[in-house]
């Protein structure tokens, strides 16, 4: 029986090639898109799910309720770890974490590794299994070092690394270590990554932070006993905050901080390991937000939904041409159930072919998809039984939705009418119209969202940031030795195209090393509390970056006293509230600094944030993590290549490439750029699939109204009036869809834009444009059919039946 169904289904599809093609193309594209999107979402959600303690390990963060809103701090002072372990019941293990790319050498091999310094319990808190060595003792002493399989291979090739001595350059000193263990490679869905582990006590500034409650520089992670839940743990942290963070709490109070609903000014909050990847407050976060994967799933559902609607509309419409067959089968003794089975199996067959096509399509598109959206997906995900099951269930639901409703509807048609050939597709089918409206609503929503995102992205690119982004190359110094820096400067000094060189502890934007940071400082000035960001720079900072001085001067080699000088921005000057800020004495850390210049405000952080107060200092002790080179050339690519070559020559170990600052600032908006790309692709897909459906419906409706059109023409209707008559029905639907879509997309986009301190306004004409676009698209899709119907010779259409 089933084979007979499939046979007739196959012949039917073959006979109605246009419909089968529309249905199948739409379905294939939609399934492929949905597959990629859901895999992406799954990948994001699967982060850290290999961690056995994912429910019980937390990262802590500090939340200050200031007068201007909430301030988040992800770092804690060194002694807190010990305090938590001693004083909070239920805390089993703690670990701090700090480090970064550092040169590691073994014999004549010298490579950069991401060396992370952690506490002894780290390997017991997190599930990073060891291939060799013992979890209990691997980080037992300060000179032990754990490698991953890959880094061990890179350093030792085939040699057994355990027990071997090697050196790591921490700060400016080489320190000896002994390899104690080799861990499995880090899974690619791990938030926490490292290439080597040593004890936390090895961090460069350990002597300064040790027992010091005033400096907070490293994230802190805690494992609590399984019987302690997050709420209880949060509560016990309140007492700790009261006891050990009294000073910041007092200062928040004097600054007019607004307590939260529990009356607390300062809270230590927790993020479970589960949420590391998607939490905005986690040190290990990806910059993604929790709604991001949901958005992917929603987009997937919308696209599949649109394709299903096509499927439903077309199947129902098509079934009317098969009325005879349906009636006949009933007369031959088919039950409704059997007819439904038959039509469902047709849908199933079509969907199955679509699924196969879409899988092939996805396989072909995957590398391109990964490259465009910076995802790392692979079909290895399909080795996971749950994903295969999920896909199968999802597929089954789609066939049920797309095939089930039409089958149900068809099976219930009145038999005698069908046999008499009286069954007609009525023009005003409310279900069909509703579905078309929904399709176009989704399409219109996606178009308007895309338009707003696109405007905002352009706005971001076009907004002057207050410094030179196109001529300045930023070089991550990667812990390069001072000699290399000096050699670099000397080499470039003679180059005519190089205008100036400077350095800073912080980058502008996000460089190829992918790191960013800021340094918040607070101190008292003439009785009021000053809160500001701070950077330490080298000479020529303002000159290299083309910063405008509003008053005073930049640091200069002509003045020997500049190491006690500070340049501030306008925001900071306003905060100082001096008539003439020049010469004001600031005292941020027990040593006086006098203001020598005021620089015009520039966007040293992303446009998501308002410009904050900033002080720029010079300090011979601080290592410049980033070098900036300003070039004056008409061949930026060549200049970049040249600078890179020079840098690699003096510092052959360099891990990260230099980049122009405009690339760096673009990287700040990577997530948004990714968003807009995905939205744009989704919108285009949605529109294409909707149009295919509309086109097919137009073909059908025209076929059904041939006789009516013929009669109208015989009665004297003009071609124009017939085109208007036929288009009106479709236009009405599209207009309703647009009207529903506008407020929804306005609301969504307003919320998205609120995430930017600087953003475009949404104008009414944007929506007018979108409406026009939707109407034009709908008209273009149906136009050919309507005109053809209107031009046809009435003699032909009236002859038949």
């Amino acid at each position: 029986m089933f084979i007979s169904y499939l046979r007739i289904a196959w012949r039917n599809l073959w006979k109605q090639k246009v419909f089968a093609a529309v249905n199948m193309t739409g379905m294939s594209i939609a399934i492929c898109a949905a597959l990629l999107l859901s895999l992406t979402a799954y990948h994001e959600w699967s982060y850290d799910n290999f961690q056995e303690n994912k429910e019980h390990v937390y990262q802590l963060y500090r939340k200050d309720n200031t007068s201007k809103g909430v301030r988040i701090n992800k770092s804690f002072s060194e002694p807190l770890a010990g305090v938590l372990q001693k004083e909070v019941p239920g805390v089993k293990r703690v670990s701090r974490m700090g480090g970064g790319d550092m040169p590691v050498r073994y014999k004549d091999k010298n490579i950069y590794l991401d060396v992370e310094m952690v506490d002894a319990d780290f390997l017991r808190m997190f599930s990073f299994p060891l291939q060799q060595g013992n979890k209990q003792t691997a980080l037992g002493s300060l000179d032990q070092l754990v490698l991953t399989q890959n880094s061990a291979k890179a350093l030792f090739n085939e040699e057994n690394p355990v027990g071997k001595a090697l050196e790591v350059k921490i700060g400016d000193n080489w320190k000896p270590f002994v390899v104690s263990a080799v861990a499995d490679n880090i899974p690619d869905n791990s938030s926490i990554t490292f290439e080597a582990l040593t004890r936390f006590e090895n961090v460069e500034d350990y002597s300064t932070i040790r027992d010091n409650w005033n400096v907070s520089s490293y994230p802190l992670m805690v494992e609590v006993a399984a019987n302690v839940n997050a709420a209880a743990f949060d509560k016990s942290l309140i007492a700790i905050a009261h006891k050990y963070m009294a000073d910041p709490i007092t200062s928040l109070k004097t600054m007019g901080g607004i307590p939260d609903k529990d009356g607390e000014l300062l809270r230590i909050n927790t993020i479970t390991l589960n949420d590391f990847h998607l939490s905005p407050y986690s040190t290990f976060g990806s910059g993604l937000r929790p709604f991001y994967p949901w958005m992917m799933v929603m987009l997937a559902c919308l696209i599949i939904g649109i394709a299903c609607i096509n499927f439903i509309n077309l199947s129902i419409a098509r079934s009317f041409t098969r009325g005879g067959e349906i009636g006949l089968r009933k007369a031959l003794g088919a039950m409704d159930r059997q007819l439904m089975m038959q039509f469902w199996s047709e849908a199933f067959l079509l969907c199955l072919v679509s699924l196969i096509v879409s899988l092939l399509l996805a396989a072909v598109l995957l590398p391109y998809y990964n490259a465009t959206f910076r995802h790392q997906l692979s079909f290895h995900l399909f080795r996971n039984g749950w994903i295969v099951l999920g896909t199968a269930v999802g597929f089954f639901l789609v066939t049920l939705l797309a095939g089930g409703y039409p089958a149900w509807k068809i099976a219930r048609v009145n038999l005698v009418q069908v046999l008499k050939g009286k069954l007609r597709l009525n023009r005003g089918s409310s279900v069909r119209n509703g579905l078309i409206v929904f399709q176009f609503m989704v399409a219109a929503m996606l178009i308007s969202c895309t338009a707003v995102i696109w405007q905002q992205m352009n706005f971001i690119r076009a907004t002057p940031l207050g410094y030179n982004t196109t001529q300045v190359i930023s070089i991550p110094a990667d812990n390069a030795p001072p000699q290399a820096r000096a050699a670099f400067r000397n080499k470039l000094a003679s180059e005519p195209s190089v205008q100036s060189i400077t350095g800073s502890i912080l980058n502008l934007g996000i460089g190829k090393d992918g790191s960013s940071g800021n340094w918040n400082r607070g101190f008292d000035y003439k009785g009021s509390h000053i809160s500001t960001q701070c950077i330490v720079v080298d000479y020529d900072y303002a000159k290299t970056l083309d910063l405008k001085m509003v008053a005073g001067r930049d640091f200069s080699r002509q003045y020997g006293t500049d190491s006690s000088g500070v340049v501030i921005n306008e925001q900071m000057a306003r905060q100082l509230n001096e008539k003439d800020p020049l010469g004001a004495i600031l005292n941020p850390s027990g040593q006086p600094y006098h203001v020598i210049g005021v620089v015009k405000d520039y966007h040293f952080e992303s446009l998501h944030k308002k410009i904050e107060p900033l002080m720029i200092m010079m300090d011979a002790q601080s290592r410049m993590n980033y070098l900036f080179v300003k070039v004056n050339t008409s061949h930026p690519a060549a200049a970049m290549e040249h600078i890179t070559a020079v840098w690699k020559e003096v510092n052959p170990l360099a891990k990260n490439d230099p980049g122009f600052l405009d690339e760096n600032t673009d990287r700040l908006y990577r997530q948004e750029a990714r968003f807009s790309k995905i939205f744009m692709s989704g919108a285009v897909l949605a529109i294409i699939i909707s149009c295919m459906g509309l086109f097919a419906i137009a073909v059908l409706v025209m076929a059904q109204r041939r006789k009516e059109i013929g009669i109208r023409k015989v009665l004297g209707a003009s071609v124009g009036s017939i085109v208007v008559l036929l288009s009106r029905d479709f236009l009405k639907l599209v207009l309703i869809a647009v009207l529903v879509a506008i407020p929804i997309s306005w609301y969504l986009m307003q919320r998205w834009l609120n995430g930017f301190a600087f953003h475009v306004e949404i104008h009414w004409w944007l929506f007018a444009g979108v409406s026009l676009l939707a109407v034009v698209i709908a008209l273009a899709t149906t136009g050919l059919q309507t005109v053809r119907a209107a031009l046809s010779n009435p003699a032909n259409s009236l002859k038949i039946d």
């Binding site: 007979s4 089968r329 031959l332 005698v416 046999l419």
Partner: protein, 221 residues
């Protein structure tokens, strides 16, 4: 075999109703060959649909093989469609996507017969109608008369007790019509199948052994 008692059928039209059949009493015995005749719109097709359980009467009682049809559930009716009643249509109503063989096989599929049983039954029918050579053709490759032969073959393959034919020769020219009518006569006489046909043609009506004239929803005489 078939007993109609005071059968009426009407459709609502605006505020009133359109009466198609009025108080029809009719008894048809097993083995009869009945021709229903009457002008267009007289209600003969509706009567046939009611006899074939495709439509339900608005009033009155219908006993099929002594059983009240209005008391039957959907399943029982479907059983009758599968086994006891065969249909032949003016427009043949063959399934275009199926071959001659597959078209004839379709009712057997709904009767859930085994593959080999189906094969032998279809082969018998094809043999009897001399259509073995055409079994793999599609309906649109056949002439109208041949298509109607397939239609009849499909109607009898499930071995029904009664065949209901709605103007079976309406779309055929007279030579083809003669072949079809001869076939009906043969089925009636040899296979003892009850045949009820609706027809306009006096000639066709002569093949039967009883003529029912219907006019304005009433049976005449």
């Amino acid at each position: 075999m078939i007993q109609l008692q005071k059968i009426s059928k009407h459709y609502p039209v605006g505020f009133g109703k359109n009466e198609i059949l009025k108080d029809v009493d009719l008894t048809i015995e097993e083995g009869e060959f009945v021709s229903i005749m009457g002008p267009s719109g007289s209600g003969k097709s509706t009567l046939l649909h009611i006899l074939g359980l495709l439509e339900e009467p608005s009033a009155g009682q219908y006993l099929f093989q002594g059983e009240r049809v209005d008391k039957m559930n959907e399943k029982k009716r479907t059983q009758l469609h599968r086994g006891a009643i065969g249909f032949v249509f003016q427009a043949y109503h063959l399934i275009d996507e199926l071959t001659v063989y597959e078209n004839i096989e379709t009712p057997l599929l709904y009767k859930s017969l085994s593959g080999s049983e189906r094969k032998s039954k279809v082969a018998d029918v094809l043999d009897r109608f001399n259509m073995v050579a055409k079994k793999d053709l599609f309906p649109n490759q056949l002439s109208g008369g041949q298509q109607q032969l397939v239609g009849i073959a499909r109607a009898i393959v499930a071995e029904p007790r009664v065949i209901l034919a709605d103007e079976p020769t309406g779309n055929l020219h007279s030579d083809q019509a003669k072949v079809i009518m001869e076939l009906f006569k043969q089925l009636n006489e040899q296979d003892k199948i009850t045949i009820i046909q609706v027809t306009h043609s006096d000639l066709n009506a002569t093949y039967g052994n009883r003529i029912i004239q219907i006019r304005d929803g009433h049976i005449q005489g």
